[in-house]
Amino acid sequence: MAITKSVSELISLMFEDVAIGDELPEIVKKPDTRQLVMYAGASQDFVAIHYDQNVAQEAGHPKVIIHGALKSAWLGQLVTTWMGVNGRLLELDVSYRAIDFPGETLTCIGKVIDTRIEDGVGLVELEIGLNNSEGASSTPGRALVSLPTRAAN
C-alpha cells in the first residue's frame, strides 16, 4: 500500500471504488531544516522555534521543531493525492499532539472509516495521521471528501 500513484492515474477515483477499511497510499517525508526555512518563507510563519536552536531551547524543546501547519499540509497532500482531481476536500482536522523534529522520517497514513451518500453526493470520511520514526502517532486527524458517483453520470 506504500506506492504513491500519480495524480493523473487517480483522475477517475469514484465513490463506488471506495470501501470502509481501504488504506490510502502512504506518503513519507524526511524534512530537513532547509525545508522548515522554505515553509517559513512560503507560509509567512516566522516563529523562531522553527529555525533558531537557542529560541527553541528557551521554549523547552531539545532542538528546532517542525511547524504543525507543515504537518497539516502533508496530511492535506495525502488526502488530495489519493482522491484525485475530481474529488473535493470538504473538511480537514489536524491535532498536534506531539512535536516532531527535522531529520526524522515521518509517514502520513490514512484509511476510510465511513462512506455515505447525502443529497446525491458521495461522501467519504477518513481517519488520517502522521507517524514518527518510532511509529508513534504524533498528529492525528480526520478528513471528509466528496467523490463523483457513477449513479450521477
Binding site: 495524480v7 518563507g41 512560503a42 510563519d45 516563529v47 497532500q77 473535493r88 473538511e91 482536522d93 489536524v94
Partner: protein, 167 residues
C-alpha cells in the same frame, strides 16, 4: 492536565476576555501564482493542479488552485487594539478547516479572524493559555470559501519569541 478553576489567579484578565468576538482588521490578498507555486514546493507537493495551467484547465477545477493549507500564508490582520499576550512562548495546537470551494490563482481573498474562546490549563510547561480563533476567508464574489479554526497555546515567562502574539 486540568482546567483551572475560575479563581483570582487566572491569566485571563477582563482586558484579555474583551477580545472574544472582536474581529481583526480585514486584509485582502490577491492570490498570485508564484506564491502558490512556492507554497506547493515548500511542502513538497508536486500535484500539477497547483502549478500547471494547462493541466488544471482540463480538470473539473478549470484552472490552477492552491493547496488546501495555503490559507495559512494569508495572515490575518491585527486587532483594532493591542492584544495583551501574557506569555513568551507559542505552540500551535491544531487546525480545523472547512472548505466550501478551493482558492484559485487570481482570487482576491479577504481574511478576518476572531477569537471564539480563551481558557487555561496547567501542565508540564506551567500555566498555558489556549486561544481558539476562527478565521474566515471570503472571495471577490463575497462567497465564504473556507473557515479555519485554530488552537494556539502560549506559555512561559521571559522575553517574547518573535511572532508570539501574531497567531
Amino acid at each position: 492536565m486540568t482546567t483551572s478553576p475560575s479563581s483570582g489567579d487566572t491569566v485571563i484578565s477582563e482586558k484579555l476576555r474583551s477580545f472574544i468576538g472582536l474581529e481583526s482588521i480585514a486584509v485582502m490578498y490577491e492570490i498570485e501564482r508564484h506564491a502558490v507555486q512556492r507554497f506547493a514546493c515548500a511542502i513538497g507537493d508536486t500535484n500539477p493542479l497547483y502549478t500547471d495551467r494547462e493541466f488544471a484547465q482540463a480538470t473539473s477545477y478549470g484552472g490552477v488552485i492552491a493547496p488546501p493549507t495555503f490559507l495559512r500564508s494569508l495572515l490575518p490582520g491585527d486587532y483594532p487594539k493591542l492584544y495583551p499576550e501574557p506569555f513568551a512562548h507559542i505552540l500551535d495546537g491544531g487546525s480545523k478547516y472547512r472548505y466550501n470551494e478551493p482558492v484559485r490563482v487570481g482570487d482576491r481573498i479577504t481574511v478576518v479572524r476572531k477569537i471564539s474562546d480563551l481558557f487555561e490549563k496547567h501542565g508540564r510547561m506551567g500555566t498555558m493559555l489556549f486561544k481558539i480563533s476562527e478565521i474566515n476567508y471570503t472571495n471577490q464574489e463575497s462567497r465564504l470559501v473556507a473557515v479555519q479554526t485554530t488552537t494556539t497555546i502560549t506559555y512561559g515567562m521571559g522575553e517574547k519569541d518573535s511572532g508570539v502574539g501574531d497567531h
